[in-house]
């Protein structure tokens, strides 16, 4: 490659990298400086933690975060259980109607629960589950993506291994639990990280189905907190944003490699 093209390519790569973290960089800038410096950038601007204090006072972040953690955990635990059983059946059992069952499952990959907010809201209100953790979780408790991912993984387990386990007297659920689940550990990790980051960030359905602080997750809380009507300034909003994304961001930075590898792993299947 001619050298100037090489330089241009490298320059674009770094420029794009800076652009991509710019919102986060700005959030850090505004959050740690007094409001006067939110829209002007100067190296001599004093540092402060005041914005975090007022953000924390103006919105029940503690409760929002608790709600998000409970909802995300509820969904993940249910998904892991439900998807393991279905994934195993679809991968290893030869039963009547298997193709049909798989087709039913795969529908959800296209028709995501977000699209069906109108009817699902009616269902949840009939069940009396508006503004509850279960209500936020219900449409996501089974994941077509998880079932498909586990099915692909379980399919690769050698038949001899299963036969040997059966000779040892394992069958049914204990066979799944003792042989298949441990072998699929990377897939479980991958799916869990994808699921956690999806539901930590999910907004539209929780917005529809929650009314109060009792069940409202961070995303919905932040949308209310940041609304222009609430009259909060940029610095406080930035501090709030950092509080909201903090835990997931910290988790991501520590387990960066696993995160990226998990997303890759989930993508190749």
């Amino acid at each position: 490659m001619s050298t100037w093209l090489q330089h241009l390519s490298r320059f674009s790569a770094y420029l794009l990298g800076i652009l991509w973290v710019l919102p986060l960089l700005y959030a850090f800038w505004a959050a740690f400086h007094p409001p006067e410096y939110a829209t002007q950038f100067s190296l001599t601007a004093p540092l402060t933690l005041e914005n975090f204090v007022s953000a924390w006072d103006q919105a029940p972040f503690y409760r929002y975060m608790l709600n998000t953690i409970v909802i995300t955990t509820l969904i993940l635990v249910s998904q892991l259980f439900v998807c393991t059983l279905a994934g195993y059946a679809l991968a290893r059992e030869n039963f009547f109607g298997r193709g049909f069952a798989l087709a039913l499952v795969l529908t959800q990959l296209m028709v995501m629960p977000e699209v069906l907010i109108v009817e699902n809201y009616k269902t949840l209100s009939d069940l009396g589950q508006i503004d509850t953790y279960l209500g936020v979780g219900l449409p996501y408790l089974a994941s077509a993506f998880g079932i498909f991912l586990l099915r692909q993984t379980f399919k690769t387990v050698p038949q001899e291994l299963e036969d040997a386990a059966r000779v040892e007297g394992l069958s049914g659920l204990s066979l799944i639990w003792k042989v298949f689940v441990p072998l699929a550990f990377p897939t479980y990790l991958a799916f869990s990280l994808v699921s956690i980051s999806y539901h930590w960030n999910n907004f539209l359905w929780p917005l529809v189905v929650t009314n109060t602080v009792a069940s409202r997750p961070l995303t919905v809380g932040m949308a209310i907190f940041g609304a222009p009507e609430s009259g909060v300034d940029w610095s406080v909003i930035s501090a709030g944003t950092l509080i909201a994304v903090g835990p997931l961001l910290a988790l991501f930075l520590v387990f960066q490699r696993q995160f990226i590898q998990s997303f890759m792993h989930a993508g190749i299947k």
Binding site: M1, A101, E114, E119, I147, F252
Partner: protein, 290 residues
């Protein structure tokens, strides 16, 4: 024995299928039914009205505006995100310095909640004091009111969507690039092929399956990613940046018309079915190709 095996398998499927049927298949059918009914209020009994709601749809200028916007939104975000994702993957997979840091930077938007970061983008886009207008002023240009002007509102949303999804798609290309054999490239270099030729004749064709996969996901996102509308534009000004899913939400939960919202949802379901169909056809061709 056979019957017992069937029973056991269906029992294993039972939790997943009952949840999926209750929250995917049954509501899909109910959406179609509701789109053919109408009632004065939510408590009044509904009556069958046939295609009347679809008549309203055809005469609703907002509906057509939303469809048009969704078309531009898809056209504006899908190819750009894919092109950027390929470029990012090639850079990060190449010999550039600070690879790990760069990969981290590209991937970060994927794990940030769209709704929360939209607050930051709102500042970037604000007139005069916003970052973009400040930067433009530094080079002597009077920046527009990005979100307040009907000409730039949808484009501003697209920019944030591309920012959000390009790094996510990069991951799939990165995974694919790592499976390509180095011998192929050595051979091409021996033949004296330049980098652009190598990309066009070797890398790009070999990445085709990934591109198809990413294409389908990007198309789905074009219908699904509306979180930032809630913060940035609320579909405005005057529906200039409204998208189908946001309009469904508005109709159902602000205008409280679940019958018309169901009718709009049917349009969405048809669009998704078309994407599914395209996927099946494309992936069939991929298999033939191999």
């Amino acid at each position: 024995m056979n019957r017992r095996l069937n029973l056991k398998a269906w029992l294993l499927m039972l939790p997943a299928l009952s949840l999926l049927i209750a929250f995917t298949h049954w509501p899909t059918l109910k959406t179609f039914w509701r789109s053919a009914t109408w009632a004065k209020s939510d408590v009044a009994p509904s009556q069958f009205v046939g295609l009347e709601n679809y008549g309203l749809l055809i005469e609703d200028p907002v509906f057509w505006k939303v469809i048009e916007n969704n078309f531009w939104y898809a056209l504006g975000t899908v190819p750009t995100s894919i092109a950027l994702a390929i470029a990012m993957a090639l850079w990060v997979n190449g010999k550039i310095k600070h690879k790990g840091l760069l990969r981290l930077a590209y991937f970060t938007p994927t794990i940030l909640p769209m709704i929360t970061v939209a607050n930051i983008w709102l500042f970037f886009y604000s007139p005069d004091i916003g970052l973009f207008d400040q930067l433009l002023r530094a080079v002597g240009i009077d920046g527009p009111n990005w979100l307040g002007d009907p000409d730039t509102a949808l484009g501003s949303l697209m920019a944030m969507t591309i920012w959000k999804e390009a790094g996510f798609f990069m991951i799939f290309y990165l995974a694919a690039l790592q499976t390509l054999s180095p011998e192929l490239y050595d051979a091409a270099k021996v033949e004296g092929a330049g980098p652009w030729r190598i990309f066009r004749r070797i890398t790009f064709p070999l990445l085709m399956p990934t591109t198809l996969f990413v294409l389908i996901n990007a198309l789905l996102n074009a219908f699904k990613l509306v979180d930032h509308l809630f913060i940035l534009t609320k579909g405005g000004p005057n529906n200039a940046s409204n998208l189908l899913l946001y309009y469904i939400y508005e109709t159902a939960f602000s205008f409280l018309d679940s019958y018309y919202a169901a009718t709009l949802t049917v349009v969405m379901l048809v669009a998704l079915a078309l994407i599914a169909l395209a996927q099946m056809l494309l992936f069939d061709r991929k298999i033939h190709y191999r």
